[in-house]
C-alpha cells in the first residue's frame, strides 16, 4: 500500500512536558484520515510537527516513501502539504484573490497581476466545487465561504495533502454538510486529507480510517467502517462515555425567572427579540433550541444586563431587574456561562486564578476595603481547580490563555456555580469541547437543577437540548414559538419548528 505521508514514532517535548510520544500516523493516498483526541491530547502539536512549525525530538517523517526533515512551513509547502487552520488566517479588508495570492503574488511588469490570479482562483474553485467570488472582500462573506478561501489558498499553492484543523468548529449545520461534500470532491480529484476533530459524528460520516491519540500517546489506528462512536469515544477518553446523561425526573417548584413581552435590539438597532415570554422555575432546566441568530444572544444579554431592554420586563424571584446594571443582576443571584468564553468569560492575560475571582474580587473575604487579598484568591482558585478538575500546567498561576478550551470552560463553570446562583444561564456551554468535558458539564448542570436551582440552557446542538433539558422552548425570529417535552418530541419536529414551520401545519400528532 502506498502511503503519501508516514509519521513514525513521533516524539515532541516542551521542556519536561511530553506533548507527543510514540505517535504513528500513516496517510494513504486518496483517503480521509481522521485524527481523534480530546482537547490537549496533542493533535495540534503533531500537525505542527508535520507542517514544520515544531521540530520533533524523535521519530521519522516520510513523504511518498522518502524520509524528510521539515524545518519550516515553506518546506512543508514545497512537499505539497497544506494546512486549513481552525482560526482563519485571512486579511479582513482584502479580497478573496488578494488573500489567496498573499505571499506569492504573481507579478506583471512589477505590479501584482490580480486579473490572472483571479482567473486561476475561479478555475480552481470550479474544479473543486468551492463556490467563492474572487473579488469579494473577506469581511463581507460568510464563515463557510472564508473557510473555502482557506482551502483554495492551499490548493493554489499546489497542495496534495490537506490538513483540516477542527474545520467544523465555527460552521452552521448547513455549512458542515457543504464542507463534507467539498472534502469528498477533493478526494475524487486525487488529494489526501488529514482531518483533526473530536466530533465523532463527522468522523463516522466522512473518514476512511481514524488514528487516536490520548494524553500525547498514540493509541492506534482503526478502520472507520469497522468501528462505532461508542468504541471511538472509549479509545479517545480511556473509559466508557455516557452519551445520554442520566437524570431523574424534574421537580420544578417556584418561579425564578419571568420574562414578559421582551423586546431587545441588536447593535444596529434592529429588533432581535420581539415580544418574548418565558418562565423558568426552581429545579428545572429549560433548553432554548434555535438556529443561531434568532435572538438568543440578545435575550441572554438582556437578562444579564449587558444589553438594554427596549420594552417588556425581566423579573427575578419576583423582583423587577429590567435594565439593571450587570453587577446588580449578578448579585441578585444570576450565574452566567457566556457563549464566547474568550470574549466575555475570561481575561486571557490574567492567570486562571485571577479569573476565578472575576465576579467576587470586590467582596469579602477576597477584598478588605480597597485592598485585595491575593492569598485568598489563590485559595479559592485552588479549591475550584480541584473541585472542577481544571487541568492547568502550573496551578492557579497558569495564564488562562494557556489552558485548553475545555479546562477554561470548567474554570468558568466552577466560578459561576460556586457563587450559588438561583438562576444559572449556560450559553453554548459545550461549544468546541470533547466528549469527556461535555459529559462533565452536563452532569454539573443537572446537579444544579437537583439542588433546586433554575437553569437556562441555550444551545445550537439538538442532541444537547434534548438530552439535558426538562423542557424545550423553541426560539424563532425573536419569539418562543413553542414549548415541548423533550421525551415526547423528535429531532424532526424540533428542526421544523426551529426553521419557522408552525406546529399546526405539521398534521396529526400521536
Amino acid at each position: 500500500m502506498e502511503y503519501v505521508i508516514e509519521m513514525l514514532g513521533i516524539r515532541k517535548e516542551f521542556g519536561s512536558f511530553v506533548a507527543n510520544n510514540n505517535i504513528t500516523l500513516q496517510l494513504k493516498k486518496g483517503e480521509i484520515h481522521a485524527l481523534l483526541g480530546e482537547n490537549g491530547a496533542g493533535k495540534s502539536t503533531l500537525m505542527n510537527v508535520l507542517f514544520g512549525l515544531y521540530q520533533p525530538e524523535g521519530g521519522e517523517i516520510r513523504v511518498r516513501g522518502k524520509a524528510v526533515k521539515i524545518a519550516n512551513p515553506n518546506i512543508a509547502n514545497d512537499l505539497g502539504i497544506g494546512m486549513v487552520h481552525q482560526h482563519f488566517m485571512l486579511v479582513e479588508n482584502f479580497t478573496v484573490t488578494e488573500n489567496i495570492i498573499l505571499g506569492s503574488e504573481p507579478t506583471k511588469m512589477g505590479t501584482v497581476n490580480i486579473k490572472d490570479a483571479a482567473k486561476k482562483v475561479q478555475a480552481l474553485s470550479e474544479k473543486y466545487g468551492l463556490d467563492v467570488d474572487p473579488y469579494a472582500k473577506i469581511e463581507d462573506i460568510t464563515v463557510g465561504m472564508q473557510q473555502r478561501v482557506e482551502i483554495l489558498k492551499t490548493l493554489y499553492r499546489g497542495a496534495e495533502i490537506l490538513i483540516f484543523d477542527e474545520p467544523s468548529a465555527s460552521l452552521t449545520p448547513q455549512e458542515i454538510t457543504e464542507l463534507i461534500q467539498i472534502m469528498r470532491r477533493l478526494i475524487e480529484e486525487g488529494k489526501s486529507i488529514i482531518l483533526i476533530t473530536h466530533k465523532l459524528k463527522e468522523i463516522m460520516e466522512v473518514s476512511d480510517r481514524v488514528t487516536i491519540i490520548r494524553k500525547g500517546e498514540g493509541i492506534g489506528t482503526v478502520v472507520t467502517a469497522e468501528t462505532n462512536p461508542d468504541h471511538l469515544a472509549e479509545l479517545m477518553v480511556g473509559r466508557q462515555v455516557e452519551f445520554k446523561t442520566e437524570k431523574t425526573a424534574a421537580n420544578p417548584t417556584e418561579e425564578v425567572l419571568h420574562i414578559e413581552n421582551l423586546v431587545v435590539t441588536d447593535y444596529r438597532n434592529i429588533d432581535k427579540v420581539k415580544g418574548l415570554n418565558l418562565s423558568i422555575r426552581k429545579g428545572e432546566i429549560v433548553g432554548i433550541a434555535g438556529i443561531d441568530g434568532n435572538g438568543q444572544s440578545e435575550l441572554i444579554e438582556a437578562i444579564t444586563g449587558l444589553r438594554r431592554v427596549k420594552s417588556g420586563s425581566v423579573k427575578l424571584n419576583g423582583k423587577d431587574v429590567t435594565n439593571m446594571k450587570p453587577r446588580h443582576i449578578t448579585e441578585e443571584g444570576v450565574g452566567h456561562i457566556p457563549q464566547d468564553r474568550h470574549k466575555h468569560g475570561l481575561v486571557l492575560d490574567f492567570p486562571i486564578g485571577h479569573n476565578i475571582a472575576l465576579q467576587t474580587y470586590y467582596q469579602s473575604p477576597i477584598a478588605k476595603g480597597i485592598v485585595m487579598n491575593y492569598k485568598k484568591v489563590s485559595e479559592k482558585a485552588q479549591q475550584i481547580i480541584k473541585e472542577y478538575d481544571v487541568r492547568t500546567g502550573n496551578g492557579e498561576m497558569t495564564p488562562a490563555r494557556a489552558l485548553s478550551g475545555g479546562n477554561q470552560q470548567k474554570a468558568i463553570i466552577g466560578r459561576e456555580i460556586d457563587r450559588n446562583p438561583d438562576l444559572l444561564i449556560a450559553a453554548l456551554p459545550t461549544r468546541g469541547l470533547d466528549v469527556g468535558a461535555i459529559e462533565f458539564i452536563h452532569s454539573r448542570l443537572i446537579e444544579q437543577r437537583d439542588k433546586g436551582k433554575a437553569v437556562l440552557l441555550v444551545s445550537f446542538e439538538l442532541d444537547e437540548v434534548m438530552n439535558v433539558s426538562d423542557r424545550i422552548a423553541v426560539i424563532y425570529d425573536g419569539q418562543i414559538v413553542d414549548e415541548l417535552d423533550p421525551k415526547a418530541t423528535s429531532e424532526q419536529e424540533l428542526g421544523l419548528l426551529m426553521a419557522g414551520q408552525s406546529k399546526k401545519n405539521k398534521g396529526g400528532n400521536d
Binding site: L306, G345, L346, V347, D349, Y361, I370, V371, M372
Partner: protein
C-alpha cells in the same frame, strides 16, 4: 542555561554590545573610545557632585516612566506625558511663588497642585475616549501642543512679557542645604524620595487593590470587565487620570527642585517622550521603571561631560547614547540568541 541566568545576562550583554558599537562609531569618526567612555564614566560617577546631579536627572524620568507604564498596564497609550508634565510644572511653580506658607504645608500643596494639573490634562483624553471613543493617542499628542503653548502664554501673562516666573519661595523648594553639602554643591533635591514613593504607590495600586485588579482587567479585555460588572468607562478615565498625576509630579520635580521656576519653552522638554522608552525598557513594571530611568538619566547627564573631557562633538555623543539604548531595547534579539546557544549545547 536556565531562564534565570538568561534574564540576568540579557541586559548585561545588551549594554556591552551597545558600548562596543558606540566605540566603533567613535573610532570611525576619529575619536578615542577609551577617552570617550572614561569621560562618560566620570560624567556619571566621577565624584559626589556628578552623582548628585545624575540622581537629580533620573528623578523626573522615573515619574514620566511611571506615567507611561501605568497607562500601558491598563491598556492605554499615554503619549501626552510631555504635556501633562509641562502643566504640572507650571502649577507647582505658581503655587511655589504666589503663596507663602509654612514648609510642611507649602511643599505638599505645590505637589498636589502639580499632580492635579497633570491629572486634569490626562483626564481630558480619558473622558473623550470613554464618552466618544476618540483614540487617546491622537488626543494626548494634540494636548502636548496645547499644554506647551498655554503654559508659555500663561507665563508671559504672569510676568508681563518676561520669559520665566519668579523664583519659588524657599518654603516650597525641594532643595536642601544638607543634600547640597554632601554632594559638593550639586542640585540634588528631595524629589528622588517622592519619585520612589510613587514607584511604591504604582505597585500598590496595581498589585494590591481591587481597583488595580479592575484597571488591569479593563485594560486586557473590556468585554470581560463589562461581563463582570465593572464600569469600563469609569476605569478608563481613572487610569488616564492616575497616569497624568504621575506626569504632573514629574513636572513638579523640575519646578520645585531643579529649576525653582517655570520658564517659557521653545520646544518640548523631551522628558515625557523619553518616558515612553523608560517604561518600555522597564517592561512597564514599577521596579523596571527605576532601572530604565537610571539608564536614561545617567547616560543623559554623563554624556554632557564627553564634549568637554574628550572633545567628542555633541552629535556623535547623541548617536552613541542612542545606540546603547537601542541595544538595551532590543534585548529580545539577544534573548533569542542565548536560547539558541543553550539549546545547541544541550543537543551536543
Amino acid at each position: 542555561m536556565s531562564n534565570r541566568v538568561i534574564n540576568l545576562l540579557v541586559p548585561i550583554i545588551s549594554i556591552i554590545i551597545g558600548l562596543i558599537v558606540g566605540a566603533l562609531v567613535m573610532l570611525v569618526s576619529g575619536y578615542d573610545p577609551v577617552e570617550g567612555y572614561s569621560a562618560l564614566w566620570t560624567g556619571i560617577f566621577g565624584d559626589s557632585y556628578t552623582i548628585g546631579n545624575t540622581i537629580r536627572q533620573i528623578t523626573p524620568y522615573i515619574l514620566a516612566g511611571l506615567a507611561v507604564a501605568f497607562a500601558f498596564r491598563t491598556g492605554l497609550f499615554n503619549i501626552g506625558v510631555e504635556g501633562q508634565l509641562i502643566i504640572g510644572w507650571l502649577a507647582a511653580a505658581w503655587v511655589g511663588y504666589a503663596i507663602e506658607l509654612p514648609k510642611v504645608i507649602h511643599i505638599p500643596l505645590a505637589l498636589i497642585a502639580a499632580a492635579a494639573a497633570g491629572a486634569f490634562w490626562a483626564f481630558i483624553a480619558g473622558f473623550l475616549k470613554a464618552k466618544f471613543k476618540v483614540h487617546e493617542v491622537i488626543v494626548t499628542i494634540m494636548l502636548n501642543y496645547t499644554a506647551l503653548y498655554i503654559a508659555n502664554a500663561i507665563i508671559r501673562n504672569l510676568t508681563d512679557g518676561g520669559f520665566k516666573t519668579e523664583r519659588i519661595h524657599e518654603s516650597a523648594s525641594l532643595r536642601s542645604d544638607f543634600l547640597r553639602d554632601i554632594t559638593d554643591n550639586s542640585s540634588l533635591h528631595y524629589g528622588i524620595i517622592i519619585a520612589l514613593l510613587m514607584v511604591a504607590l504604582m505597585w500598590f495600586i496595581l498589585e494590591k487593590t481591587t481597583r488595580g485588579y479592575e484597571l488591569k482587567a479593563v485594560g486586557f479585555n473590556q468585554n470581560a470587565a463589562d461581563y463582570a460588572g465593572m464600569s469600563v468607562n469609569k476605569n478608563i478615565i481613572l487610569a488616564m487620570t492616575i497616569s497624568g498625576m504621575f506626569a504632573g509630579l514629574g513636572g513638579a520635580m523640575e519646578a520645585l527642585g531643579t529649576f525653582q521656576n517655570a520658564s517659557i519653552k521653545a520646544g518640548f522638554t523631551g522628558i515625557g517622550f523619553d518616558g515612553i522608552a523608560v517604561a518600555l525598557l522597564g517592561a512597564n513594571t514599577p521596579l523596571g521603571v527605576i532601572f530604565g530611568a537610571s539608564l536614561f538619566g545617567s547616560l543623559k547627564y554623563g554624556s554632557l561631560n564627553m564634549p568637554n573631557a574628550a572633545g567628542i562633538p555633541e552629535e556623535i555623543v547623541s548617536i552613541i547614547i542612542a545606540l546603547i539604548i537601542f541595544f538595551v531595547a532590543s534585548g529580545y534579539i539577544i534573548r533569542v540568541g542565548l536560547q539558541k546557544l543553550s539549546k545547541k549545547k544541550e543537543g551536543q
